[in-house]
């Protein structure tokens, strides 16, 4: 700009002066002393801590930040550096430029940090100096480690999960869900009990978090209690053991339910006989004869607390003789699944060929069934139900059969004994000795559960399936296998590390 105006700018060369103390030639600065003289004159590290003692827990590798916080930090990590610098007092009077570790022997219990600071001295000259701070590491067990060491089984909160039904399908499903969402990571111990599972946690908040997770996946009712373990009079600290008792609704998928009269009328006179199609944190009910559906919230269910009329143990196999779809076809799409009302002619498999017992029924599975198929349903004709709700209904005509699902038994017979394409992971559970465990029943329950997830993609949605190494691809011309079994794309491939076969990480192969 000056050049434009025609001004001549002289180039300014800074001359040298002699340092006022030692007389060496130097560039003039604010103090007019060479750096060495300045440094010898003024020590900006005066008054700063050079020696600090820090506490370290050898069990969990944590460092104490008084009064009570324990910080987890690796040796010579960024967190440790931040922690060390924070422990220096008076560092706010000078400006911190740089800090780094000086190598020390790991077991010497000394940490050395070289800190570079800047401070203003004399008349505006800013001096920069680096100095070393030594930290002596004292070993001191942190509270949680000492508590664990004193009594390894000590728990503070427990969640007792119960479902009063005769099978364990819900718990298998829950197990997979918990594994998928890592909800029980913080659990100290998991114990399998009769009709339920107990989870033990070290912290009340972990238990509450788990409880909330449960409430979001199944309809539950819970109550909590606490028990005083110890109490310190002087500081008024009370130590409690908290217990959360959780009950899952006994209504499961594919159950046949007779709704109480009041509930039925409040839901719009939905037929008293309904089938439960889906249980998440709400229960989905479907009237199989009118294709009307409704949802019941957790709260709503527990207000009435009805039980199922017939459960899936009582399913009987039928052969479909004929299917007639009335015109106009009545179909509905509920929860992503198509249902079609149809009239069916069925006969029990046990009756088939022996006698002529044929039943004419209305079913909601018109879209699935073809003549000659096998289906599973509830035999109300032969059933002897002892339900108080059912008796309250006067003038109710019970259907003879309620078909629930299609049966893939034949295809399964072909595959019997062969390993499955996928496998599932398990939670580490302790089995209580006191509980009466029927091995055979457990195994058949589990088999049933596996069939369920094979047949229902919606059920599979929330779970993680892993590829089974032992499965051999067989060139079977069974279309059944492709339909029913989980397609390969949905399986997660397990990465097995060469050294340790226990370590498995899932590599997401999801579409």
């Amino acid at each position: 700009m000056d050049e434009d105006k025609g001004m001549f700018n002289v180039q300014q060369t800074i001359g040298t002066v002699l340092c006022c103390r030692c007389g060496i030639r130097m560039q003039p600065n604010a103090a007019n002393m060479c750096v060495r003289c300045l440094r010898s004159e003024v020590d900006i590290t005066e008054g700063l801590q050079k020696h600090v003692v820090i506490s370290h827990c050898p069990e969990c590798d944590c460092y104490l930040q008084p009064p009570k916080t324990w910080l987890k930090a690796q040796w010579e990590s960024k967190e440790l550096l931040t922690f060390c610098v924070k422990r220096l007092k008076n560092l706010n009077k000078v400006r911190l430029i740089h800090a780094e570790f000086v190598w020390t022997e790991p077991h010497s219990k000394r940490i050395k940090v070289r800190v570079t600071i800047q401070k203003e001295v004399l008349n505006g000259a800013v001096l920069e100096q680096a100095y070393v701070v030594e930290y002596v590491q004292q070993d001191h067990m942190c509270e949680s480690c000492s508590r664990v060491a004193a009594n390894p089984d000590q728990w503070v909160a427990s969640v007792q999960l119960r479902q009063h039904v005769s099978h364990r399908r819900t718990f298998f499903y829950l197990e997979q869900l918990i594994l998928k969402h890592d909800a029980a990571v913080k659990a100290i111990k998991i114990k399998q009990m009769d009709q339920g599972i107990d989870f033990f946690f070290g912290n009340r908040s972990h238990a509450v978090k788990f409880l909330e997770f449960l409430g979001s996946v199944v309809p539950t009712k819970s109550r909590d209690d606490k028990q005083l373990v110890s109490h310190d009079v002087k500081s008024s600290n009370y130590n409690y053991k908290y217990t959360f008792s959780v009950q899952i609704s006994p209504v499961c998928r594919e159950d046949l339910i007779c709704l109480p009269q009041r509930l039925s009328s409040s839901l719009g006179n939905i037929g008293p006989l309904v089938v439960c199609t889906k249980v998440t944190n709400s229960i989905a009910l479907l009237d199989p004869f009118t294709l009307r559906h409704c949802h019941l919230d957790s709260d709503q269910y527990w207000r009435h607390g009805f039980k199922s009329l017939l459960t899936s143990r009582q399913l009987v196999e039928y052969i479909v003789l004929d299917i007639e779809i009335p015109s106009p076809p009545m179909e509905a799409k509920i929860g992503g699944v198509r249902y079609l009302l149809a009239d069916a002619q069925v006969a029990r498999v046990s009756d088939f060929g022996r006698n002529d017992n044929i039943f004419f029924v209305r079913t909601h599975l018109g879209h699935l069934l073809n003549p000659g198929d096998h289906a599973l349903g509830y035999d109300l004709y032969a059933a002897n139900s002892n339900d108080s709700e059912l008796e309250k209904y006067k003038n109710l005509v019970l259907p003879e059969v309620v078909l629930i699902k299609k049966s893939y038994e034949e295809a399964r017979l072909r595959k019997r004994g062969k390993p499955r394409k996928y496998k599932l992971k398990h939670l580490e559970m302790e089995v209580d000795d006191r509980a009466r465990v029927d091995e055979e029943k457990e195994r058949s329950d589990y088999e049933q559960f596996q069939r369920d997830i094979e047949e229902n993609p919606e059920l599979r949605f929330n779970l993680s399936l892993y590829r089974n190494k032992e499965y051999q691809e067989e060139s079977e011309a069974g279309s059944m296998a492709d339909d029913a079994a989980a397609p390969l794309e949905e399986l997660l491939a397990d990465l097995v590390l060469l050294d340790e076969s226990d370590e498995e990480e899932d590599e997401g192969m999801r579409e």
């Binding site: 002289v10 180039q11 300014q12 060369t13 800074i14 001359g15 002066v17 002699l18 340092c19 006022c20 103390r21 030692c22 007389g23 003039p28 103090a31 007019n32 002393m33 004399l122 008349n123």
Partner: protein, 245 residues
């Protein structure tokens, strides 16, 4: 010869004294030691006068002068003016000037032949300086500072300027003033040269904080080592003796 001293525990001796080749002005201090040091050095050569200007003691910064004359600001009282006229030799013209910038010691740096002036000085003042002091006046800055009187100490043999003065500036000033110039410090790195010391052709007085290095620089640039007062003031003495008679 350079001497180190303090005025009432303060090292800025250039503020409280004014030294030229013909006379020396000293502030009225609490203790007599300041005055006595000047006396010891200079008594038999040039008159040492105790005075105040405008009732203040910062006389070194308020007045500017050389062997030909002395310029005092408009704040000087009549008594002080009279006292100065009486005490100083007749060859020295004492002149009070009306100038907005009243700290003449900070605005004017002069020796017996040439003077540097503050860039904002009035034209009349400049003419007065040229008349009274018998010097050639140049408006200049030193290291970008307009207070040339503070940042430069000047005698007929040499000069010391602000340490941040660039080499080009030094050359230019040196050419103007026709004396060798050096950039340096006084009083342990202080940049305000003229406040920290006062100097004439054969002697210098510096603050007691001045380091040996700074002292050696001062002595070398003002050529004080081989300086003898007698050779310089002989002419003056003759005029003095004449007047007594």
């Amino acid at each position: 010869m350079a001497t180190r001293l303090q005025f009432e525990n303060n090292c800025e001796v250039g503020v409280f004294s004014k030294l030229t080749n013909a006379y020396c002005l000293v502030a009225i201090g609490g203790s007599e030691s300041f005055y006595s040091i000047f006396e010891t050095e200079l008594a038999d050569v040039i008159p040492v006068v105790k005075t105040s200007i405008g009732g203040t003691r910062i006389i070194g910064r308020l007045c500017a002068g050389n062997k030909n004359g002395l310029l005092v600001p408009h704040t000087t009282t009549d008594q002080e003016l009279q006292h100065l006229r009486n005490s100083l030799p007749d060859s020295v013209v004492v002149q009070r000037i009306e100038e907005r910038l009243s700290a003449l010691g900070n605005c004017i740096a002069c020796n017996d032949h040439v003077a540097l002036a503050h860039t904002d000085l009035d034209r009349e003042t400049e003419e007065l300086i040229a008349d009274v002091l018998g010097v050639e006046v140049f408006r200049q800055t030193i290291a970008g500072n307009i207070l040339v009187g503070s940042y430069c100490a000047l005698t007929n043999r040499g000069g010391l300027v602000h340490p941040h003065t660039s080499i080009e500036d030094l050359d230019e000033l040196s050419t103007l003033l026709q004396v060798p110039l050096v950039a340096g410090t006084v009083n342990r790195g202080s940049e305000v040269i003229a406040a920290g010391m006062t100097v004439n052709d054969w002697t210098a007085f510096c603050g007691s904080d001045t380091t040996a290095t700074e002292l050696s620089v001062i002595e070398s640039v003002f050529k004080l080592r081989e300086a003898q007062p007698s050779a310089i003031v002989d002419k003056m003495r003759k005029s003095l003796i004449d007047s007594y008679v």
